[in-house]
Symmetry: D2
Subunit: 340 residues, 4 copies
């Protein structure tokens, strides 16, 4: 096969989205050729297509960062993988371990499907360092949700907040990161309170939520206090942001950690100073995680039996429908598969 399909935009805007036939790429030195099997979509992908999000995109531009696939070609010197190895991508490929790159003035926002080309294509040639081995216990549609949704929840809850059994975790959503947070927290023996839409209660409990609060009710904060006997949440997965962060601080236990992950409610957050200071609360800014952390997540998924929650799968050609789905809100992850 010498040609393949790839989504591209030549300018910012949904109306510029095109599925094109292009040549299959050839891996360069220390690169591998990956046959993509599935791509996990994130809300950010929709924003990048529709607004560019201020990123320095080079057109034609291919969106998305999260793939699961198979090694089908090895460039000169490539040695991390063998042919047929199943792999997933890292979304922030320059962040190997320890501190992420960047400076105070210029944070490094170099992601696949952002600064670097994205993964909505049948084949990709990419540096072998940008990939990690896929978990043996997941199929491709499940595995492709790890690089952003899974890793963000993992990095916040486990590597920053230091979650442990018996902790109470509060998660105010049922999106992709949120449900990974629920599953990762349960895998660590935590008690989890999810706040979501009434119609999602049953399936959220089936995934393991100990308590479910109806987001539509006025007294949802009061309910968190009651469920915890006023103790509050040891860890909050703040996936909404804006003024909601302030509510997370008020719900945090003494010594609690708030993982600030999402900015759905705005790019400026606000919070009250007194509970932050009087409860010794810590706020961790979380933007995915390192490649090492992704490797640890893969081990955790295999050993703890975590199965990512997939709301829907769309074939490659139906990307626009998948993006619309994301816009309406998903219960867990939305995935695109290469096979029609």
């Amino acid at each position: 096969m010498t040609t393949m399909r790839r989504w591209e935009i030549d300018a910012i805007g949904r109306e510029h989205l095109r599925l094109r036939d292009v040549p299959v790429p050839v891996p360069g030195p220390c690169e591998v050729l990956v046959r993509v099997a599935a791509v996990g979509l994130n809300y950010r992908d929709k924003m990048v297509i529709e607004t560019g999000r201020g990123l320095p995109l080079r057109f034609p531009f291919t969106p998305s960062s999260d793939l699961a696939g198979e090694i089908v070609g090895l460039g000169e010197g490539a040695s991390r993988f063998a042919m047929q190895d199943r792999v997933i991508s890292t979304a922030t490929p320059d962040w190997i371990d320890g501190l992420r790159p960047g400076t105070a003035r210029t944070p490094a926002y170099r992601t696949l499907g952002g600064y670097y080309p994205g993964v909505l294509a049948e084949y990709l040639a990419m540096p072998e360092d940008w990939l990690v081995r896929a978990p043996a216990s997941l199929d491709d549609r499940q595995a492709c949700t790890l690089p952003v949704a899974g890793l963000t929840a993992w990095f916040g809850l486990v590597e920053r907040a230091g979650l442990r059994a018996g902790d109470t975790v509060f998660i105010p959503s049922t999106g992709g990161v949120a449900l990974f947070g629920l599953q990762i927290a349960k895998a660590h023996g935590a008690e989890v309170i999810v706040c979501g839409r009434t119609e999602d209660e049953e399936r959220t409990r089936q995934i393991g939520a100990d308590h479910f609060i109806f987001a539509e009710r006025d007294d949802w904060m009061e309910q968190v206090y009651r469920l915890t006997g006023d103790r509050g949440a040891d860890v909050v997965l703040e996936v909404i942001g804006g003024a909601h962060l302030g509510q997370s601080v008020e719900l945090a236990a003494v010594g609690g950690k708030v993982c600030q992950i999402g900015a759905l409610a705005g790019f400026d957050f606000t919070a009250p100073a007194m509970p932050l200071m009087l409860k010794d609360v810590t706020i961790h800014g979380i933007g995915t995680g390192s490649r090492s952390a992704l490797e640890r997540l893969v081990r955790a998924v295999d050993h703890a039996g975590i199965k990512p929650v997939i709301d829907s799968c769309y074939p490659l050609s139906e990307l626009p429908t998948a993006l619309d789905h994301l816009g309406h809100g998903a219960f867990g992850n939305v995935v695109v598969t290469m096979q029609d």
Copy 2:
């Protein structure tokens, strides 16, 4: 001596402040009698007197939390100290070690000179557990500044942010906590940038600041970027709060820590989400520290030769003038001494 002087208010408001002659108290079981030598004032003391700050004060109420003094009486069963031991108070006496008390719903704001009676008196009877040994290397006027100003800077920089040699610390003030922060950071081999008023440059440099930025200049943030080669500050001692916290987040290095300590600019803070998340920044809410931490600070003061910066000392009778001084801004600490 059977009577002594003590400041009291019978109602909220500066106009109710009275210096009264009252009986010297008698220590109960497990209490000690302390002859107070000096009291360190904090801006909070002024606010409590003038506004009550929402605290459940019981009148007549004595303000202030930070004393240095001497053990001159032992109640039944008291065993932590001997007669003539020099001591300082803990401002948050219920917080011995580990986690502070309180719940998510009701943070524990039980301080001396707040929930508990304060220390602006010649003698005090108090539980022996509320005191720690004073540093041998400081006189009383210096030692009385440790319980809040010193401990807050120590707890944030050292016990939460994990400061170490070579780190860059940014401190946007020259008040009591700020100058302790400067001295503690220098004692750990850090590089310190202070932002303050033009007239304070020279003495701030004398205390050890590596760089001084004029707060009045529009480009002060730009200067922090320049001084750090865009790297930013590893630790920020945020003593101003409000929207200033957002600036601290923007100045923080990748992996940087912001200690949120002060609320001079308002009790709600705001900050931009993207640099927080893309730089893996952590915000620590800091409200003094535990008694164990105060004991570690005492050891640090003795071993590292830290000498607290005292702007002015006032005799007990001139408390109102001392409070006015605080209101105008002090360079370091304002202290009240018992000897006229």
Copy 3:
């Protein structure tokens, strides 16, 4: 009821063990009266009775530290518990939170059934600070195993080694601490390898062990390497000690943690320096944990559904048989109950 039964020794040695009728004690100020329901035995109890273990015992001496029971009396000023509250003891009662007591020269070995009187009695009057609430999800026979066996495994794996999902844990035993370690590790989503006697394989796997290695086989270390693809164990629960610690260091992964808990194989341990240094391995000395940590374990037990493994229960009068059982090796915990 005014008299009760209590085990006592008047001198060191099993031959001095007596079950006596003594008056029910009366709680003093800030004390509570506990009706003991069950006592968890530890190997240490047997050693204290038989050898004194160098402790400053005051005769008549009652052994053992771990009880579950009920509050049936409140001394003056006691306020932490209400009548009928179910409680368990802390074995190291002076260690509330943060650092444990003691000095370099004189480590504080002040335990119940060691320095302090023990708990093998139908009723006990003790300071209320020495107790914590029992987990709601356990009966008394289960709950009484937490204070030493459960807490030691928890403190090592969770609070010192920072265990998390996906980690590989190696446990070279099936005793009380070991099986708690297995259960706590599984509750955190870890992969667990247990090394034990052939006859214990099946029940160890039923409790959750992912792999079981026959301790009798010469190549057990080789098998740990093989099972981990040479990666080694992220955490080792070293409950044997002596030269076995050296083997644990050799089996530890890069960056691995070894929790040194037991001294069955001798009070001096040895280990090779090169793997310790070249693999950045950390050895944590573990001797139970703080009261705060016990409270966290109680929450973990309730939320993660951990059910302690009980090998056998003996009535109070059969303590000597129970001690013999301990001497032969138990699969999990040996418990004494008050009801005959």
Copy 4:
């Protein structure tokens, strides 16, 4: 210049050491050419030459790992440095950040002058990733002591033990790592007790030691207890190893950390279990540190004004004399310079 001098051995043993004239190497892709100015010697270098230390040496083999020099040539694609940049080497070049490489079965002992060729040469072509910028405040003879002696002390005291002001540090030697430990501890405001030879007392105190104990005296352990009021040392820099580690554990404070660094007294260490367990002591195995940690040390050296202690400098041709000096024990570091 097309030829240069380089020390080589063609077989294990001091008698095979030769200073040869060889061609100046040419940097390959992503390599740089370094003109070496100074080389810091470690006791390990002597052992590698004399015994091979079990390493897979390829002959002719050049020993030593620690250089300071200047970039004088850039291979294709090299971009981390510019011409004339002053650099120092990393001794464990594969360890960039986070976890070091290696497995449980096969620790990665891939150092310069061990697995990789060493640096006792006038010029070296090496991957640019193996170097970091030299501290601006040190000359070459000082800077070349950082990669092993400086980094090992830094990594143990600061990045593993979390040293802070007021801590008491015990250092039982006056060698290269030991004196770096003294200086780094003092730069963090710690109290430092050094145990060494009588003749070294004065100069050790001049470098900053608060207390000096004569190693020859029988009661040196007693003196550590006395100097700390029985509290013990918060951190011990164990550079001797063997049975000495046991003494370090006995001297450690409750919650203390022992950095196991040296194996002068043997490759097997022994220690008593009870004080390890009853004092909650942690032993950290330390084998240099990551490149990121070296960069942090460089910043610390520049900001805290640390000046490495150099016992003697030898010209390149006098390497054998320098090695003899190491064998007799040095006060601080022994350095070889390229200029005769």
